[in-house]
C-alpha cells in the first residue's frame, strides 16, 4: 500500500466492522478495567457514529489531548499507578477507544485494528478459559473483516461478504496454526513482566482460624484437577497437601517463619509410587498441591522444609505440572532443634483444661501412637458433631470446643488435636490442603473444589518421622470416604449460598452428565492447550515425533500450504481451456511469421488469411484450426493431445529463420 492510499478515507464496510469489533474486544474487558472506561467507550462510539453520519465534527486537538490526559489521570486514580499489567491493560484499552475518535484515514484504521489484536492478546492474560478462547474468535474475525474491508474498493461491497471472507481466511489458517502451535519451541520468559493480579481469589491462606475452612466450603470454585497415571488411589488416601501451619497464637494457626526457609527435608522413598498430573487454577498463592510425599521436576519450584512445594512467583495463571508421590515414605526421622521447638510451640497461657487433659493422657498412655489413638477415641466416644455452623467459642476456644460445644468443622478438630499433642509434648502441626475430590468418569480424573478444603494433623516421633492423622475421619468418616455433601447433617444445606450451582443438582442424572462432560472439556483444554508449555511440549513431541520434529514440521507445513493452494486455485478447472492455450500457442507461432490475429477475428477467418499468406503451410494450418474447431464448437471428443500433435507438425513445417521478422512492425 502506498502512502497515498493510506491517506484515503475508510470504506464504510471497514468502519462498520471496526465498530463491532471494538465492542466485542472491549465488553469482555469490563471485568478487568475501570468501569469509567466502558462509559468512555460508549460515548466515543456514539460520537464516532455521529461523525460518520455527518452530525458532528471530528474532535479538535484540544479536546483530544484533554481526553487523553483525563483518561490517563482517571486510570492512575483507579489503579494507583500507570505501571503494571492492570494499569497497562487499562491504558491499552483507553488508547484503543480514543484512537477510534480521531480515526480519519486508513492509516488510523490500521493502527486501530492492530491495537485491537493486541488487546485480545492482553485479554488472554486475564482470562484463558475455553469459552473465552472461543469467544475471542468473534473479535478476531471482525477485526480481520475490518482489515479486509479497508482494502475493498468501497460502495458496492457487502458487509456480510467481507465477514464471510474473513471467516474463510481464518478457517484456512487453522491447520497451519495448529502445526505451529504444536512445534514452535516454547522459550523460557525472556524477562519478567508484571503479572495480572487476580483480585479476590478465595482459597487457603497462610493462617487459619477455626471458622475459615467452613467459610471456604460454601464455594464450589474449582481449585485443581488431577489425573493419575495408574489407577485412582482410594479416596481415604487423597490428602492434597498445600501447606503446614505451625504457629498457634491461641486462636489462629499460621505459617511459621521457619517455613519460608527453602531447606528440603530428608525423606526416604518407600512403598508404591503414585504418578499424576495436576492442572492448578490460579490461587494467588505460591504453593502447589501434592500428595505426600510429593516430588516434581517443574522448573522454578522447590520443596520447602515442611514438605510443601512452592513456586517463586504466586500462581496467577492456571498451570500444569506432573508429580509423583510415595504415600508410605518415611519423613524426616531426625528433627532439628529449631524445628522441634517450632512443632512444640504453644501460647504461654490459655486453654488450661486441654493442657491438663493432654498431660494426663500422656501420662496414662505410653508411646505417642497410643496417645494419638486415645485422642481419636475421645472424638469417637464423645458426642462430637461435624457441622458447617458451629456455635461460637469463648476465649479458651479449644477448651470450649473439646469439653463444651463439641461441634465443629475440620479446622476445629485438627487445631484441637494438634494443640493436645503439643501439650502432651509431641511435636505436631496442622496441615492445610484438600481432601478427596470428585471423580469425572468421562475423563477419569479428579476435580477438587474449594469445598474440598480440609485440615488435618501431622505428628512426629523419633525414628519414625512425621505421620499424618485426621481427627475429622474419626468424627465424620463420610467426609473422608464420600465427601462433604454426604458428611453434612440433613438439616445443613450443601452450597446453601449458591442456589444456581450445578453441583447442587448432581442427583439429576442429566444435569450431572452435562456438568461432567463440560468439566471434562475444560480439563482437556487446560491440560492440552493451556498447559502445552515447556515440558509438556517436549513430552508430546518426544512421544510422537521423536527425533523427526524438524522434518515433520517442514513437511506438514508444505503439505498444508500445497493443499490450500490446490483448493484455492483449482488447477483442474483450467484443464478445459487447454484448447485455448494451444490456440494461443498457435497464434504465437504465426506471429513469428508476421501474421497477427486481428481484434475480433475468429479462428477460421484467421486460418483462412494465414493459409493465403503462407500457402506452403496452408494444409498444416487448416488441419490445426479444423481440429480446434471440431473440438471447441462441433463437440468432437478430441483430446488435447490430438491438438498438440497438429500444432507440433505445424511448428516443424514452419521455417524457423523467419522468426527474425518478429520485431518488425507490420
Amino acid at each position: 500500500m502506498t502512502s497515498s492510499s493510506l491517506a484515503k478515507p475508510i470504506p464504510r464496510v471497514s468502519l462498520n466492522w471496526l465498530l463491532i469489533a471494538q465492542a466485542l474486544v472491549i465488553v469482555p474487558f469490563a471485568l478487568h478495567v475501570p468501569v469509567a472506561l466502558i462509559v468512555l467507550w460508549l460515548v466515543c462510539s456514539f460520537w464516532r457514529i455521529q461523525i460518520f453520519r455527518m452530525r458532528v465534527r471530528m474532535p479538535g486537538t484540544w479536546i483530544k489531548s484533554g481526553l487523553l490526559v483525563g483518561t490517563a489521570g482517571g486510570i492512575y486514580l483507579a489503579r494507583g499507578s500507570l505501571i503494571g499489567l492492570d494499569a497497562g491493560a487499562a491504558l491499552l484499552i483507553a488508547a484503543f477507544i480514543l484512537k477510534m475518535l480521531e480515526m480519519q484515514n486508513r492509516r488510523d484504521a490500521l493502527v486501530l485494528i492492530f491495537l485491537g489484536f493486541f488487546c485480545i492478546a492482553v485479554g488472554y492474560l486475564f482470562e484463558d478459559s475455553l469459552l473465552w478462547g472461543l469467544f475471542t474468535l468473534l473479535p478476531i474475525t471482525t477485526l480481520l473483516a475490518a482489515l479486509i474491508g479497508l482494502q475493498q474498493s468501497g460502495i458496492s461491497s457487502k458487509p456480510a461478504a467481507t465477514l464471510r471472507l474473513s471467516a474463510k481466511l481464518l478457517l484456512q489458517a487453522v491447520p497451519l496454526m495448529l502445526l505451529l502451535f504444536l512445534f514452535f519451541p516454547r522459550l523460557e520468559p525472556l524477562w519478567s513482566l508484571p503479572q495480572p493480579s487476580n483480585k479476590a481469589l478465595t482459597g487457603l491462606s497462610d493462617s487459619m482460624a477455626p471458622g475459615d475452612i467452613a467459610e471456604l466450603s460454601k464455594s464450589a470454585e474449582l481449585v485443581f484437577r488431577a489425573s493419575f497415571d495408574g489407577p485412582l488411589p482410594p479416596r481415604t488416601q487423597l490428602y492434597w497437601r498445600a501447606l503446614t501451619l505451625e504457629q498457634f497464637d491461641g486462636r489462629r494457626w499460621s505459617q511459621s517463619s521457619r517455613a519460608q526457609v527453602p531447606d528440603a527435608p530428608l525423606w526416604r522413598r518407600e512403598g508404591e509410587r503414585v504418578g499424576y498430573s495436576v492442572v492448578l487454577e490460579p490461587t494467588g498463592k505460591p504453593w502447589l498441591m501434592t500428595l505426600d510425599v510429593g516430588q516434581t521436576d517443574l522448573a522454578g519450584v522447590r520443596q520447602m522444609s515442611d514438605f510443601r512445594w512452592q513456586r517463586r512467583r504466586p500462581i496467577e495463571q492456571s498451570m500444569l505440572y506432573n508429580a509423583e508421590s510415595w504415600p508410605d515414605a518415611v519423613r524426616e526421622t531426625v528433627l532439628s532443634d529449631g524445628a522441634r521447638l517450632q512443632a512444640l510451640q504453644l501460647p504461654a497461657k490459655g486453654n488450661p483444661q486441654v493442657r491438663e487433659w493432654a498431660a494426663d493422657l500422656h501420662r496414662r498412655h505410653l508411646g505417642t501412637d497410643a496417645l494419638v489413638d486415645a485422642l481419636l477415641s475421645y472424638f469417637t466416644s464423645q458426642p462430637f458433631r461435624y457441622t458447617l455452623k458451629p456455635p461460637s467459642l469463648g476465649a479458651n476456644s479449644i477448651d470450649d470446643f473439646l469439653f463444651g460445644s463439641r461441634a465443629g468443622f475440620c479446622a476445629h478438630y485438627a487445631g484441637a488435636m494438634a494443640f493436645a499433642l503439643r501439650s502432651a509434648g509431641v511435636p505436631a502441626r496442622v496441615v492445610a490442603g484438600y481432601q478427596g475430590g470428585e471423580l469425572n468418569p468421562d475423563g477419569n480424573y479428579l476435580t477438587v473444589r474449594q469445598f474440598d478444603a480440609h485440615a488435618w494433623v501431622e505428628y512426629w516421633q523419633p525414628n519414625v518421622g512425621w505421620r499424618s492423622v485426621d481427627p475429622t475421619a474419626a468424627v465424620a468418616p463420610a467426609r473422608v470416604e464420600q465427601g462433604l455433601e454426604q458428611a453434612l447433617a440433613a438439616d445443613e444445606e450443601f452450597l446453601g449460598d449458591s442456589p444456581m450451582s450445578a453441583l447442587r443438582y448432581r442427583h439429576l442424572a442429566w444435569v450431572n452428565s452435562i456438568r461432567m462432560g463440560w468439566d471434562n472439556l475444560n480439563y482437556g483444554w487446560q491440560r492440552w492447550v493451556l498447559g502445552y508449555q515447556g515440558q509438556q511440549q517436549l513430552k508430546v513431541l518426544g512421544r510422537w515425533f521423536s527425533g523427526f520434529q524438524a522434518p515433520v514440521f517442514a513437511g506438514g507445513a508444505a503439505v498444508i500450504l500445497g493443499l490450500l493452494a490446490l483448493w484455492l486455485f483449482k488447477p483442474w478447472r483450467r484443464e478445459s481451456d487447454s484448447q485455448l492455450r494451444l490456440f494461443n500457442h498457435f497464434e504465437r507461432l504465426l506471429a513469428r511469421q508476421g501474421l497477427k490475429r486481428q481484434p475480433g477475428e475468429g479462428a477460421q477467418a484467421f486460418a483462412q488469411r494465414a493459409a493465403e499468406q503462407l500457402p506452403a503451410h496452408a494444409g498444416a494450418i487448416r488441419d490445426f484450426v479444423g481440429e480446434f474447431e471440431a473440438q471447441r464448437y462441433a463437440g468432437a471428443d478430441g483430446s488435447a493431445g490430438a491438438l498438440r500433435q497438429r500444432l507440433k507438425s505445424l511448428r516443424r513445417s514452419l521455417p524457423w529463420r523467419l522468426s527474425a521478422v518478429r520485431g518488425k512492425r507490420p
Binding site: 500500500m1 497515498s4 489484536f117 478462547g133 475471542t136 482494502q151 496454526m177 525472556l190 495463571q317 484455492l568
Partner: protein
C-alpha cells in the same frame, strides 16, 4: 543508483512480459512482495510473540500463530486475487497535443472475481476497480498528450493488495496501445496557398476569411505568421512586432498551405490544424498542402481525419 538500474529492470521486464494486446495474468507475469503495512503486521506478530513467551500464555501463542498463518495465507490469496485476470487494451480516440488521452482498458474475469484491482501508469496514481466473476469491466485511464505523432502508452501497472493489504501482487504490462496525437490547434490567420488560385469566380458571394486581397489592419505577431507580412516599420519604431492583416474576397475552394506560414514546423502544423478544424466545422471544402502531400478538395469527417493524420505524422513517420 536506482536510476541506473531502471533500464536494466525495464529490459528484464520487457523480456519477461513481452508486449501483447491481450494478456492473462499468470505466474510468469505476477510479482508479489510485502507492503509497508505487511512490515507493521510482522512487527505486531513479533510483539505478540514476545507477550506469549514472557507470559507463557498458550492462547496468546495461539493468536500469534493464527495471525502468522493468516499472513502466510495472504500470499496465496493476494496472488489468487490478481491471477487469471485478462487485460486488453481498447480503442483510443485521437486527441490534440495538450489534451488528455483517454485510454480504455478491458478487464475480464475468466473464473473467480477480482477485487480492488488498481491500475495506473505509476504506483502513486492508481484507479481502483472490481471485476466480478465472469464479467468484463472497462476502465478509462488518462495520459497527457505531449507530442504530435504516434504515442505508445507506457507500461501499465496492475496491482492489488487485497485481501489484507500486507502483500502486493503486481504486474507491469505493455498492452500495445497506440494513439495518434494531432498537433495542437493554434488560432491565427488562414495560411492560404499563394499565387495559383482555382478560377471558380462565383457569383459575388465573398468569403471573408483572411487572405491577401484586402488590407484589414495591424495586429500583434503570433508564432507561425509569415515573415512577408511583418510590419517592419512599426518594429523599427519600437512598437513591437506587428503583422499586416489581409482578408480574402474570393469564393473559390481553399487550399491550406504549409509554405504560406513562417515559424518552425510545429507552429506551422498547429496553425494548419486549427484551420482544418475550423473549415471542417464550417463544412467548407478545402485542400491541404504539405511538402510532399496534397489532398483533394473535400469536406466531411473522413477528409478532416485524413488531413489531421497527415499533420500528426508529418515528418515523424519512420
Amino acid at each position: 543508483m536506482i536510476e541506473r538500474f531502471e533500464p536494466v529492470w525495464q529490459r528484464w521486464v520487457g523480456r519477461r512480459i513481452p508486449p501483447a494486446s491481450r494478456v492473462e495474468l499468470d505466474h510468469r507475469r505476477i510479482f508479489i512482495l510485502p507492503t509497508r503495512v505487511g512490515g507493521t503486521y510482522a512487527l505486531i506478530l513479533f510483539l505478540l510473540l514476545l507477550v506469549s513467551i514472557n507470559y507463557q500464555n498458550s492462547l496468546a501463542y495461539g493468536l500469534t500463530f493464527l495471525m502468522l498463518s493468516v499472513g502466510v495465507l495472504a500470499i496465496l490469496h493476494t496472488y489468487r486475487n490478481i491471477s487469471g485476470l485478462v487485460l486488453s487494451g481498447g480503442h483510443a480516440r485521437s486527441v490534440f497535443v495538450g489534451e488528455p488521452v483517454q485510454l480504455r482498458l478491458r478487464l475480464e474475469s475468466t473464473g473467480h472475481g477480482h477485487q480492488a484491482i488498481a491500475l495506473g501508469w505509476d504506483s502513486e496514481q492508481l484507479e481502483q476497480t472490481d471485476v466480478e466473476a465472469e464479467r468484463l469491466v472497462e476502465v478509462g485511464l488518462t495520459l497527457p498528450a505531449l507530442k504530435r505523432g504516434w504515442m505508445r502508452a507506457p507500461r501499465l501497472r496492475v496491482e492489488s493488495v487485497f485481501p489484507l493489504g500486507i502483500f502486493r501482487a503486481w504486474s507491469w504490462l505493455d498492452l500495445e496501445q497506440t494513439v495518434l496525437i494531432y498537433p495542437q490547434p493554434v488560432a491565427g490567420t488562414m495560411p492560404l496557398l499563394q499565387g495559383v488560385q482555382p478560377h471558380a469566380e462565383d457569383d459575388g458571394h465573398a468569403t471573408t476569411g483572411p487572405g491577401v486581397d484586402d488590407y484589414q489592419g495591424l495586429r500583434l505577431w503570433q508564432p507561425g505568421d509569415s515573415m512577408k507580412r511583418m510590419h517592419w516599420k512599426a518594429w523599427s519604431r519600437g512598437q513591437g512586432l506587428m503583422v499586416k492583416e489581409f482578408s480574402d474576397l474570393s469564393g473559390h475552394d481553399l487550399c491550406l498551405d504549409f509554405m504560406a506560414l513562417g515559424g518552425d514546423i510545429e507552429e506551422r502544423l498547429s496553425r494548419l490544424c486549427y484551420w482544418v478544424l475550423e473549415l471542417s466545422q464550417r463544412q467548407q471544402p478545402f485542400a491541404l498542402k504539405l511538402p510532399g502531400f496534397l489532398s483533394a478538395v473535400d469536406s466531411g469527417d473522413a477528409h478532416r481525419e485524413d488531413c489531421l493524420r497527415q499533420l500528426a505524422l508529418y515528418g515523424v513517420r519512420a
